[in-house]
């Protein structure tokens, strides 16, 4: 599936929570090609500062409208500049990049933590009309704007917050076992911090439920050319997160 570089007009760049924004661009080409789990690689500002592109997961696609959205957290120079983009300005985007999620399942459970919840929105949409459930974890209530997003898409939204301010107290990995016990899911999709992913993969393995994980690494090229992003693969061979992933079967990388 071929990759593109597009100069995409910005339609919206709205704040959805403290330091978190949703950027919506117009690009029928990207919208038409993208599958859940893939990302776009954006050049923020026509300047050498910042120099490199920034990888951002595709978190929402409207093929009819030809729009693609990404939900991002302002963490540094690049995302701070991205947050200043206004409607009608254009954004230089490469995409869609990477290998997305395998959608072959009947009763999926999505598990996401922090910004790992961003790509799972698009996944949940594409999994419908199958019954989709999500287990989400976040630092505290303020993170839980995600629930408002997912409650519109998913049949059930299970929430874990470390202070118990919303949903159950604890981490996603604490709640996961009992869910897998009861829920007879046939696929676990997860995205979030690597330590969390490793635990989730281990738990899913105990329950013999196939598990896909979406990884993050610092990236330069985004197309498999620079080897900035490789991680140790199970069969000894290194894996490129940008092209072999970002989505992997748990068994490939853990």
């Amino acid at each position: 599936m071929s990759k593109l570089v597009v100069q995409a007009p910005v339609l919206k760049n709205e704040t959805i929570s403290n330091l978190v924004k949703r950027l919506t661009i117009y690009s029928p080409e990207l919208a038409g090609k993208a599958v859940p789990g893939q990302f776009i690689h954006v050049k923020i500002a026509d300047s050498y500062h910042p120099l490199l592109r920034r990888p951002l997961s595709i978190s929402d696609v409207d093929v009819a409208k030809g729009t693609v959205s990404t939900i991002y957290r302002i963490v540094g120079h690049g995302t701070a500049l991205l947050a200043q983009l206004k409607s009608d300005e254009v954004l230089d985007c490469m995409g869609p990049l990477g290998r997305g999620f395998n959608l072959e399942c009947k009763k999926p459970l999505l598990v996401g933590g922090g910004m790992g919840l961003a790509p799972l929105v698009f996944l949940a949409q594409r999994l419908c009309p199958r019954p989709v459930e999500i287990l989400m974890g976040g630092r505290s209530e303020q993170e839980m704007f995600w629930s408002s997003i997912y409650s519109t898409i998913c049949d059930r939204v299970h929430i874990a917050t470390d202070d118990g301010s919303v949903g159950q107290r604890g981490f996603t990995v604490d709640l996961l076992p009992e869910l897998l016990e009861s829920g007879n899911y046939d696929m676990v999709y997860s995205c979030g911090p690597r330590p969390m992913l490793e635990k989730i993969a281990a738990i899913a393995k105990n329950f013999a439920i196939p598990c896909q994980v979406s990884l993050e690494e610092h990236m330069a090229c985004g197309v498999g050319a620079c080897l900035s992003c490789t991680c140790a693969g199970k069969e000894g061979k290194r894996k490129k997160v940008c092209t072999d992933g970002p989505v992997f079967w748990a068994g490939e990388v853990f």
Binding site: H49, L52, C221, V223, G224, A225, C226
Partner: protein
């Protein structure tokens, strides 16, 4: 593109344009085939290849710096056999010279891999005697005249292919290195490889790179690269492939004026995947605007000491 403005011949390697892609930044070429017509690239210099497969450095491998980036890939590569058996064949469908960047831990290793790669489909060898990211070997060769010369000498004995010596900028006197590799028989010289650098995360107090130090590339290094190309052009007769921070056609022309016969584009590929083609087009436009008939008319033409 009008056929006759851009073709260059570097040590017998015939290129359609003077714009090559720099080793380690363009994979094996096909990674960029969605964006670039590889048949319109001067030459593709593939990722540093070693005798045995290498898994490279662990931890974070790149860090962005002002107008540049640090990398510490650590020469991850599938090894010479895999390259010859699986990768090289798939490149044969493209009409572009493939130059293999090779690295070794010993002089002998350079010789062995050179012999292995002396096959059809490989247009030339670029000796990476300047990789700052490999403990043994690598940069050690690149910062000592004698060992650099012995690597070149050994490789020349083991191949009929044109041999390009790639110099490290992390030296006191680049001309000394250039003369040494020329004397040892290098058919061309490419420079610069990356400047050794480091970045620290002030939140965690840890180096950003898993390897602690890495190689600086990108626009930030351009003034150092142009200076070294100019110095080397005045010190040797073999053709020079200039690189280091080239982002635009103007940047490339700066290197040509300084004395490079061709240029290579590295970090810029990450920013604009089409840049290698666009730079060639830009050089052509520049030549036409000035009524010049061939890119050769720029090489080494910087005007020194003219009011």
């Amino acid at each position: 593109m009008t056929a006759d403005l851009l073709p260059v011949d570097i040590a017998g390697i015939k290129m359609k344009t003077p714009v090559m892609t720099a080793s380690g930044t363009f994979g094996f070429g096909m990674e960029y085939s969605d964006f670039v017509d590889l048949n319109k690239i001067g030459a593709v210099v593939v990722k540093g290849t070693t005798l045995m497969p290498r898994s490279g450095n662990s931890g974070v491998r790149i860090a962005e710096t002002p107008a540049g980036m640090l990398n510490s890939i650590g020469l991850e590569n599938p090894g010479a056999d895999e390259f010859l058996n699986y990768i090289l064949p798939s490149l044969s469908k493209y009409d572009v010279p493939i130059i293999v960047n090779i690295a070794g831990n010993t002089v002998e290793e350079y010789g062995e891999i050179a012999k292995l790669l002396d096959v059809d489909g490989v247009a030339g060898l670029e000796l990476n005697i300047s990789c700052p990211n490999v403990k043994q070997g690598g940069i050690a060769f690149g910062t000592n005249c004698n060992s650099a010369a012995s690597v070149v000498d050994m490789v020349k004995k083991n191949t009929r292919l044109p041999v390009i010596a790639k110099l490290s900028p992390n030296v006191t006197d680049i001309t000394e290195m250039a003369r040494a590799v020329e004397a040892a028989g290098a058919d061309a010289i490419s420079l610069i490889n990356t400047l050794l650098g480091m970045a620290i995360d002030v939140r965690t107090w840890k180096p950003i790179l898993g390897n602690v130090v890495g190689g600086l590339s990108g626009p930030a290094v351009k003034p150092v690269a142009v200076r070294m190309v100019w110095q080397v052009a005045n010190a040797v007769k073999v053709p020079i492939i200039g690189m280091g921070g080239i982002m635009t056609a103007e940047d490339a022309i700066e290197f040509l004026l300084a004395g490079a016969s061709a240029v290579a584009v590295g970090t810029a590929n990450f920013v604009n995947p089409r840049v290698s083609m666009e730079i060639a087009e830009g050089i052509e436009k520049y030549l036409l605007q000035r009524g010049l008939t061939h890119v050769g008319q720029l090489i080494g033409k910087v005007k020194i000491g003219e009011a």
